[in-house]
């Protein structure tokens, strides 16, 4: 879809309006409700136990560059740093994207200042290891084994190196909490970490941890959009069973000339109907 079709414009703008109104309403003081996800108790617990062990904590914002998911990871890592800073605990943050080093330094040093322990923060602990995926994994593994880290907090986008980092930390007995929207890496975190924040809980984590009205409002908006999509899918499936592909056509990637076209099965619909695999 190189350019939006009419229905894409309507749907996308509708979704955006739902989300933005919830955000603005939350910013105007209407504090929305967000249920506590179990993963967050795990974060608080892990930082507590790590502080008792007195060894440094290793965190990571994942393998992403200057993108949205990595910024989200930084928000969670900053929260962890804030909690650890109160006890003067050292946070190590090896970074994969060079341009992200200053952003991370900014956020983490602010967290230490706000916790009243600027002395505990050292710029040395936020270092660019390598842009190359596995050179980064080798560097982090070496760090984990040498520093005998007490805990690891792995958030953001991960690829095949996830298990290298998690299993090395497991070997030094570190408590591990991971959270990633990268679906294919979640199984590796599940087998090697103590707690894993899955898929969308990743966004809920920042909302709950930071209690920021903007992010909480956004989460409510996201829920509304999710419910809308689910409603459309169930309605669409039922209508399609009766041979009415109207909802299906709303999400069609070619421009439909007239309103009536939305009620006629479009060319690829018949061909894709046959795409079902089950016998």
């Amino acid at each position: 879809m190189e350019h939006a079709t009419t229905s894409a414009r309507i749907i996308l703008i509708l979704f955006s309006v739902i989300i933005v109104t919830q955000v603005i309403r939350a910013q105007r003081g209407q504090r929305p409700f967000i249920r506590r996800i179990p993963g967050l108790t795990a974060i608080e617990e892990a930082v507590g136990r790590a502080v008792e062990m007195g060894r440094p904590i290793l965190t990571s914002v994942g393998m992403g560059g200057i993108d949205i998911i990595t910024l989200q990871a930084l928000a969670i890592v900053t929260h962890v740093a804030g909690v650890a800073a109160r006890f003067g605990q050292r946070i190590i943050l090896p970074v994969r994207n060079a341009a992200f080093v200053p952003i991370a330094e900014d956020a983490i040093s602010t967290a230490y200042n706000q916790a009243g322990r600027p002395d505990a923060f050292s710029e040395q602990d936020i270092i660019f290891l390598s842009g190359e995926q596995f050179a980064y994994a080798a560097g982090v593994s070496g760090l984990i084994q040498r520093e005998k880290v007490a805990a690891t907090f792995l958030f953001g986008q991960f690829f095949a190196e996830s298990l290298i980092i998690a299993e090395n930390a497991n070997q030094v007995g570190a408590i591990q909490v991971a959270g990633t929207p990268s679906t294919t890496q979640i199984p590796f975190f599940i087998v090697a970490c103590d707690y894993v924040i899955i898929g969308d809980e990743y966004y809920a984590a920042t909302a709950y941890l930071t209690r920021q009205p903007t992010i909480m409002g956004s989460l409510v908006g996201q829920d509304r959009v999710k419910m809308a999509v689910i409603g459309l899918i169930v309605l669409g499936a039922i209508l399609l069973s009766f041979g009415m592909p109207v909802v299906w056509n709303l999400f069609f990637d070619k421009e439909l000339a007239t309103l009536a076209d939305y009620f006629k099965p479009q060319g690829t619909l018949i061909q894709s109907l046959g795409a079902g695999g089950g016998k």
Binding site: S16, A98, E167, I215
Partner: protein
Amino acid sequence: MFVPQTGITLWLFILGALVVGGGVFFVLTLVPTRFRKPLIAAVTFLAGLFFALEFFLPVATEGETKGQNFLTPFLKPVSAWTTILQGFALGIGVYSLVSVHLRNIARKREGRGFSVVLLAAIVAMAVPAIWKEYNPDPRLKGFYEIIYDGAFNSLNATMYSVVAFYIVSAAYRAFRIRSREATLILISAFLIMLGQVTIGQAITNGIPNEGFARNFRIENIANWILTRVNSPAVLAIEFGVGIGALATSLRIWLSLERGSYFDEEL
């Protein structure tokens, strides 16, 4: 105005551009603090507006600019500028890595020998790699091949392959029937493993591969799991993440985002 120049005038124009660019740069330093955040918000919004409008605006249905709107021709220059500016950011990483390791050496820190190895490796890779483009000396090419194929490629592939060992120790430790969820993970992992490997497939080779019986062949069970259970599960997770990404993009585009990076006083 934007006409390619040649010879001396080219270098004058380049100098002119640098001076003008430097001037804008200097003016930016004078921007008072209270205008800084709005300026950043404006830059962020406009950068996003370009791509949003290019996608949303209706396109010409026929004629020379078929399938385009007035912004589409600018996609190419924007792509070129994005690529180049991304390239300029490289210096930050190299600087921060080199400065950390130079400090280790200067302060005679424990393990500074390894820092020397690291800095030497950067030079041993970058210099011959770039130099060979300008100097066809076969010795250079040979040295580059040793460093690239011999060191870099093998280190990369080996570090990746270490995951295989960790999979065995992680699976051995984690796949224990001690909770409902752990058992579910164990069962589906086993079914897929058996279904994908010739030895596993051999177990149910006896069953005919058509009609109702075919559903009991291990590779069909594995395929059913991947297409009928994994596919909707991955689809549902990706929906949530996709909507989350869209929401986060909206917050950043409209500078609604809060949090330590965005609230900091400038």
